[in-house]
């Protein structure tokens, strides 16, 4: 007993000693290879690429899962009938070619010969038919069935032919077949798709197959020797699940991962100030897949007045938002299509920042500062509204900049930020909002019927701003019936023009997707084509001298 204080001291000393030795013990200096990552190397196969996922996929059947992490992994494992090439034009993946019948109602896909699943079994039109049956089955708990349920009849007349017939021509059909991962019938026919172990242990036909899935930690893929699209160069893809972006960045700095998505601060501030990083890590910038907008509730006054909407559009400085929020890493857009693709109308320009014009338009609409309180008013009611958005830093910051600009011309704006599920069920579904700040995808398929057609306003549907323009309705209907790309282009160019003029939403920006990839990975297209840097990832390679030692993260 009397020895206790001494014992304690000894224990503490011993403990700290152990800790120190342990820390020093594992401090074998990293052998900083003298390799020059900037040198050119010939292409060769092999190596492992480690990247990160922010969340764990719930499963790898994309039609069931829906999260971006699921499709990111699954798209390395599964093929679709069609795909988008580097210029975002549709081309065959499993299909060699496809014909559209004269009445535009029937599409016939001709599969490439001798396709195989990763397990060696033949991949035939029967599998495609099975996948269609699965996604349209009422018992399948997939939210993505709608496009495929429009198929009146699907048949597989022979091994390499798959034929679908629609009740009426449906132009988005081709895009829908680029988004449906074909599943193996021989493994799934007796399974309940909603609850099948296959989703955690999938067998596909693309470049890679699942090697190991450590729950909550990492997903490893290895090369699929039977791949239908040829052989990828890199042997293994490992995706580590690291939710926190700061931790991802530390792992990148410590050379434990090869690739991650960056935010604008990391891209534009941290990298340029760290030559040790730019020495070994390359930064890539590609046009992202979504745009951010300010949407008006058109059923509420005064947003039913086009002059008010246009005035607000003129009063917002988009470049300022891009510079302030995205540190310049974004583009202003004037249509809901990716700039540079065929659907984007090159004639259209975003509304310039012009507060005088905004004031003039508001005056025309009856808004003036009659009571001299600094806020415009009409019939005694001040022009004041609330911008509603979800917890998303970029959107919150944009809202603050908009608030200031609108204040300058006498519009009183409040900002309200709510959590996503609340946002949707409490405000969007009920239509209980004035103005929202949200984002939509810059679709590769130009059809945006669900977002802009006047028939899509019921609770839970996507035209929640209540946009209703008969001319646009007609164009959207026509665009769905037209399968000829050139004729479709004209339709959607006109649609975008009316939409811009009508200003039911203010397009704020389309941000760049920012990626950092270690320079040991070669063969990446820079600058990125419209489809992004990932379009040829199967041609990327890691020269042997630059490879990380296996079991390196000691």
């Amino acid at each position: 007993m009397q020895q206790k204080p001494k014992t304690l001291k000894t224990v503490l000393a011993l403990f700290s000693f152990l800790l120190t030795t342990m820390l020093i013990g594992c401090g074998q200096q990293k052998t900083e290879s003298a390799n020059d990552f900037n040198k050119a190397y010939p292409s060769e196969a092999g190596g492992t690429l480690v990247d990160t996922l922010s969340g764990e996929p719930s499963g790898l059947i994309a039609m069931m899962a829906g999260e971006s992490s699921a499709s990111a992994v699954a798209s390395n494992i599964f093929n679709s009938l069609l795909k988008y090439d580097k210029n975002l034009e549709l081309t065959g993946e499993l299909a060699q070619s496809w014909d559209v019948s004269a009445d535009q109602k029937t599409i016939t896909f001709h599969l490439k010969p001798n396709l195989k699943w990763a397990d060696g079994k033949p991949l035939t039109s029967d599998d495609v038919l099975f996948t269609w049956q699965t996604v349209t089955d009422d018992k399948t708990r997939s939210p993505y069935g709608a496009d495929y349920k429009l198929v009146k009849k699907a048949e597989a007349p022979d091994e390499n032919t798959f034929k679908v017939t629609y009740a009426q021509p449906y132009a988005p059909a081709l895009d829908s077949w680029s988004g449906l991962h074909i599943l193996p019938k021989h493994l799934l026919k007796d399974q309940d798709i909603n609850n099948t172990p296959f989703s955690r242990n999938p067998v596909g036909s693309h470049y890679y197959q699942l090697d190991q899935w450590k729950k909550g930690e990492s997903i490893s893929l290895k090369r699929n020797p039977n791949a239908t699209q040829g052989q990828a160069k890199i042997d293994r893809l490992v995706s580590r699940i690291i939710p926190d972006r700061a931790a991802q960045f530390l792992e990148l700095m410590a050379d434990n991962i090869d690739s991650m998505g960056l935010n604008s601060i990391q891209y534009a501030r941290i990298f340029p100030s760290r030559p040790d990083l730019t020495n070994k890590i390359a930064q890539y910038k590609e046009l992202g897949n979504s745009y951010t907008y300010l949407g008006f509730n058109l059923k509420h006054k005064p947003f039913d007045d086009v002059r008010v909407r246009q005035a607000i559009n003129y009063a917002i400085d988009k470049q300022e938002i891009i510079d302030g929020v995205l540190l310049g890493l974004g583009l202003p857009v004037a249509s809901p299509y990716k700039p540079g693709t065929r659907w984007s109308n090159p004639k259209l320009k975003p509304y310039p920042y012009d507060p005088q014009k905004a004031l003039a338009l508001l005056k025309e609409a009856g808004f003036e500062d009659h009571d001299h309180d600094g806020i415009l008013d009409r019939d005694g009611k001040p022009l004041s509204f609330e911008i509603l958005t979800n917890q998303n830093k970029e959107r919150e910051m944009s809202a603050v900049l908009i608030q200031r600009r609108l204040k300058e011309i006498g519009i009183d704006v409040k900002i309200r930020v709510v959590e996503w599920a609340t946002f949707i069920s409490r405000f969007i579904k009920t239509g209980d909002f004035n103005v929202v700040l949200l984002g939509w995808g810059l679709g590769l398929e130009p059809d945006q019927f669900n977002i802009w057609h006047s028939s899509q306003q019921a609770p839970g549907q996507f035209n929640f701003i209540g946009y209703n323009n008969p001319k646009v309705d007609k164009l959207l209907e026509a665009g769905r019936l037209e399968l000829n790309p050139d004729k479709r282009m004209k339709i959607y160019h006109e649609f975008s023009e009316i939409l811009l003029e009508d200003s039911p939403v203010v397009y704020l920006f389309a941000g760049y997707g920012l990626t950092a990839i270690h320079k040991r990975v070669k063969g990446i297209d820079d600058p990125a084509p419209p489809a992004g840097i990932g379009h040829n990832s199967y041609e990327w390679y890691i020269p042997a001298p630059l490879r990380r030692n296996e079991m390196s993260a000691d």
Partner: protein, 339 residues
């Protein structure tokens, strides 16, 4: 004694039902359900299919009916299946007809969280006890002041910031410790011992951080308990008897001062299964905190209810254990219970 125990156990059942009912109602007060997630806000999905999902999960029924269905399942300890995660079982593992085993979500996350919490609690006790005693013995002098300042800094420092700084220092500046995750890539090729060492290295920072933040509570508790006891008459008596100071402090004072700690440990039993969302996200550890947080964001009701139920059951059991331990440690309490 047995009667007392049975009585306590019996009353736990209605208490649990009550707690679960309130949790269920509060959970449903938050707007939205599994069909209002960010991924479902996709023009390629349709409202009909979402409505269909709601029907499949009984989300279209009144809340009290849903609660009844849940309670009926729970009465056979069936925690159900996750809405969000491909119908994964919430707790128990399942084997399908082909012999594929699907592990339960809680079943997978629990051991990791438990391991981290037990280790960090042990670390806290191992350090906080001596710190508290030293503090009390040197009240208002240098050692006491510096210990108090140290534990308060540990308590007040934002743990995510400290975590990132330590990750940078030990993982990027020096290659001492791994930055995140539980295993190194390819660790499965190592020997068992090397694998264990690998995991321990991965756990060092998370345990250190949660230990540091938890130090303040227990060390101050011990300090105050010690100070209280040291002013008691029986300590004066012990000293007057001429007992050596060490015997007075460690045999007479410390043992009595530790009594209230039993309550703290009892209350920390449910905390053992609760992970920290922030620490788990930063260190990329697939534990309970992240599981619960994601489930709340996804409105994955079966998972939320599963974790809440286990948590509340453990709270009640922890209370009971604390009371029993009190009775075991303190003869005064024991007498009270017996009467």
């Amino acid at each position: 004694m047995l009667k007392y125990l049975l009585n306590r156990l019996f009353w736990m059942v209605p208490l649990l039902v009550g707690i679960s009912l309130i949790s269920f109602l509060i959970m449903h007060l938050a707007p939205g359900d599994i069909t209002s997630t960010e991924a479902s806000f996709n023009p390629k999905t349709s409202e009909e299919s979402r409505q269909k999902l709601r029907e499949l999960y009984n989300l279209d029924k009144p809340v009290i009916v849903q609660y009844g269905l849940w309670l009926k399942r729970m009465s056979t300890l069936d925690f159900g299946h996750s809405f969000a995660s491909h119908q994964s079982p919430v707790f128990w593992q399942e084997t399908d007809k082909d012999g594929n085993v699907t592990k339960g979500m809680i079943q997978e996350a629990l051991p990791i969280t438990l391991l981290i919490n037990v280790l960090s609690l042990s670390l806290i006790i191992a350090i906080a006890l001596p710190l508290g005693v030293i503090s009390a013995l040197t009240q208002n002098k240098m050692p006491d002041r510096s210990i108090t300042i140290f534990v308060f800094i540990g308590f007040a420092i934002p743990s995510f910031w400290l975590a990132l700084m330590l990750m940078y220092w030990t993982g990027v500046s020096h290659n001492w410790l791994p930055i995140s995750g539980l295993h190194s890539l390819g660790a499965e090729k190592l020997s068992n011992f090397a694998q264990l060492l690998d995991t321990l290295k991965h756990l060092t920072l998370p345990i250190l951080i949660s230990g540091l933040t938890g130090l303040a509570g227990i060390s101050l508790f011990v300090r105050n308990g010690m100070l209280d006891v040291l002013h008691q008459d029986y300590i004066t008596t012990a000293r007057a008897k001429g007992l050596p100071e060490n015997t007075v402090v460690y045999k007479h004072a410390l043992r009595n001062a530790l009594l209230p700690l039993i309550t703290i440990f009892g209350l920390s039993i449910p905390g053992l299964i609760g992970g920290s969302v922030i620490a788990e996200s930063i260190f990329a550890i697939p534990g309970m905190g992240k599981l619960f947080y994601d489930a709340v964001l996804m409105r994955d009701f079966p998972v939320i209810m599963g974790i809440l139920t286990i948590g509340s059951a453990l709270t009640l059991i922890g209370n009971l254990l604390a009371d029993l331990a009190y009775a075991w440690a303190d003869p005064r309490v024991r007498k009270g219970v017996a009467q």
